[in-house]
């Protein structure tokens, strides 16, 4: 009999790395079938409390992520579930081909959890700020891509990911992020969550941008604009029904992500929308640039990832929606 999962209070500020550590410890008591694959970075990804408590369930690779990734593929063949954790630059970029060929192609049951995503990474600067991982991950068949919006959603997602049979890429934000989902939140791989109803425009956020999308919707409401807000916490497979409904019922879609505007969540939504339910869209993200050092909030202002920017772009999008209707 294990302890019930402990969640955080809505409004608290919690790093998803802390949630990852808590989820691992909880799961360790529940199931014997997984091992942690680490490349000298458990302290950075949040896995350290687990690694310290269960050293026999840690496979250590030193700083050699390509070997770690391909070995995870091989290890999955024995029936164990490798939980691989590192920074996104190393897990999804350096070891990309190992993930593709040794894990995704043979559909091996490996779970890759990467931290240090986007500008949220902060002062470490451009080399650590992964702004390309969704783009490269999205082009690989057979995998699911999960981006929890906060610590509570992460806890739910972790359980679903471990129960899912097949390779999963999941993203762990580095910096403390506001808790927006309560303990009753339901998470399923492939299902988006509608956090706010609205008929004028839809704002789809992922990761740290979901909380900012909610703030933007609140400020839009003050000026009489009803924005629907969707948390798209699975980028692959895409929740087609929810996106189609957003296009049909609100007629305009704005996406927001802490990632390059090319190839990310906005691109995934746009690919679907343009083919199935074309409506005016705006993709907010980092405008095809590298990051730089600074605090996450400062970087968000410098690169235009704030709730104010989302609200302003939503207003601009509404004028395009009107034009589209008139034409």
């Amino acid at each position: 009999m294990s302890a019930a999962l402990a969640y955080w209070q809505v409004g608290e500020s919690v790093s998803l790395r802390e949630a990852f550590g808590r989820a691992l410890l909880h799961a360790a008591a529940e199931r014997e079938d997984f091992v942690l694959f680490d490349a000298d970075i458990a302290g950075g990804t949040g896995a350290k409390p687990f690694a310290e408590k269960f050293p026999s369930r840690v496979m250590q690779f030193g700083i050699a992520e390509q070997n770690m990734m391909a070995a995870a593929g091989g290890c999955a063949d024995t029936g164990l579930i490798p939980v691989v954790s590192t920074f996104a630059a190393f897990g999804m970029m350096r070891a990309h081909e190992q993930f593709r060929t040794a894990i995704a192609y043979p559909k091996r049951n490996v779970k890759l959890f990467c931290s240090h995503l986007g500008l949220d990474t902060g002062p470490d600067g451009a080399t650590a700020q992964m702004l390309e991982d969704i783009a490269v991950a999205r082009s690989i068949p057979n995998i699911a891509i999960v981006v929890p919006a906060d610590a509570n959603e992460f806890m739910k997602a972790f359980a679903a990911i471990m129960d899912h049979r097949g390779p999963v890429y999941a993203r762990i934000g580095r910096s403390p992020a506001p808790v927006i989902c309560d303990a009753q939140h339901r998470f399923a791989i492939g299902k988006a969550t509608r956090l706010r109803e609205g008929a004028d425009v839809t704002i789809i956020g992922t990761g740290v941008m979901v909380a900012r999308a909610l703030d933007a919707a609140a400020s839009l409401a003050a000026s009489g604009i009803a924005a629907r807000v969707i948390n798209l916490s699975t980028i692959k497979p895409l929740d087609a029904d929810e996106i189609r409904a957003a296009a049909r019922e609100t007629g305009a879609i704005l996406t927001a992500e802490d990632h390059n505007v090319h190839g990310g969540m906005g691109s995934a939504v746009a690919e679907f929308v343009v083919e199935h339910c074309p409506v005016p869209m705006k993709i907010i993200g980092v405008a095809d640039r590298f990051g730089k050092s600074g605090e996450p909030a400062e970087l968000a202002r410098l690169y235009g990832l704030t709730s104010e920017r989302i609200a302003a772009e939503a207003r601009a999008l509404l004028t395009r929606k009107t034009c589209a209707n008139a034409a």
């Binding site: 391909a70 190992q98 040794a102």
Partner: protein, 286 residues
């Protein structure tokens, strides 16, 4: 247990050297016929690995061809995936699928992919992009140790694998983790895609590097079936905490005079009808 006594204990059921040589010859003949029928493929490196595969598949590996995913089987990974026609031939000869299927290699409506795919019965790991085979084997060996299973993992590497950084990461990790249940066999034919290894990127000496990374190294002629058998039996019965590395010196295109040591036959090649007949006739005479 020494290699000699390990051999002796299995003498009643073990095939003779002549029988293994006959299996290697059959692997070579199937391989050439497959590549000829496919009109593409890599004969040189498949022929150089044929004796190694014959000893593994007909003498050493603990397998259940009727139950390809049997969890306690020995694992085998052909890291130099382009040599897979020889592996597919060995699998068909062991009964994983019908020999007639070999003619489907590289065809659109057939399961025998141009490089190993785990959907093929008997294939334990995808390969074809060099440098990832030893890491996957390392993962299997780590998993076996964690689960307290006694199967062993065998990985055949090629010259190109030894130039990939990923392979050296795996060599470092296997020595560090003292994985006595992992065996690597290097099919060192010393000719790679465009030129000789010595010209492109000489990775020798091997023994000194591997020993420095805490592996136990045996060097032999990769076409000497007796020597291969003894070295593999020793590796298979080793209770040593070191992973085993068998440095097998081989000849690219071995068994076919006009292919031996010839760059052209690395591949991927379209083999003419008369080339196939000449090669098969030569193999029949050996």
């Amino acid at each position: 247990m020494t290699g000699q006594t390990a051999l002796k204990s299995r003498e009643s059921t073990a095939p003779s050297i002549a029988e293994l040589a006959a299996q290697a010859r059959a692997i070579r003949k199937h391989t050439l016929a497959m590549i000829h029928a496919a009109r593409s493929g890599h004969p040189g490196g498949a022929l150089s690995a044929a004796d190694i595969l014959a000893v593994l598949y007909f003498d050493l590996l603990r397998l259940r061809p009727g139950e390809p995913r049997w969890n306690d089987r020995d694992r085998f990974i052909l890291s130099k995936g382009h040599a897979c026609p020889a592996l597919y031939a060995a699998l068909a000869m062991r009964g994983y699928f019908a020999l007639a299927q070999l003619a489907g290699l590289r065809k659109i409506d057939h399961f025998l992919e141009g490089h190993p795919d785990i959907k093929i019965p008997g294939i334990d790991a995808p390969s074809g992009s060099l440098g990832m085979g030893l890491s996957q084997g390392l993962g299997m060996a780590l998993g076996a140790r964690h689960l307290k299973k006694d199967f062993r993992t065998y990985v055949v590497l090629g010259d190109g694998d030894m130039q990939e950084g990923n392979t050296w990461e795996a060599i470092m990790a296997a020595g560090f983790h003292r994985l006595g249940n992992l065996v690597a066999i290097l099919d060192a034919n010393e000719l790679q895609g465009d030129a000789r290894v010595a010209q492109q990127m000489d990775y020798f000496p091997v023994r000194e590097k591997l020993e420095a990374f805490r592996w136990s190294v045996t060097e032999l002629d990769g076409h000497d079936i007796g020597a291969l058998r003894q070295a593999l039996a020793m590796a298979a019965s080793s209770r040593d905490a070191k992973p085993s590395f068998i440095l097998a010196h081989t000849i690219k295109g071995k068994g076919v005079s006009f292919m031996e040591g010839q760059q052209y036959w690395h591949g991927s090649v379209t083999m003419k009808d008369e080339e196939l007949s000449k090669a098969l006739a030569e193999l029949d005479r050996t």
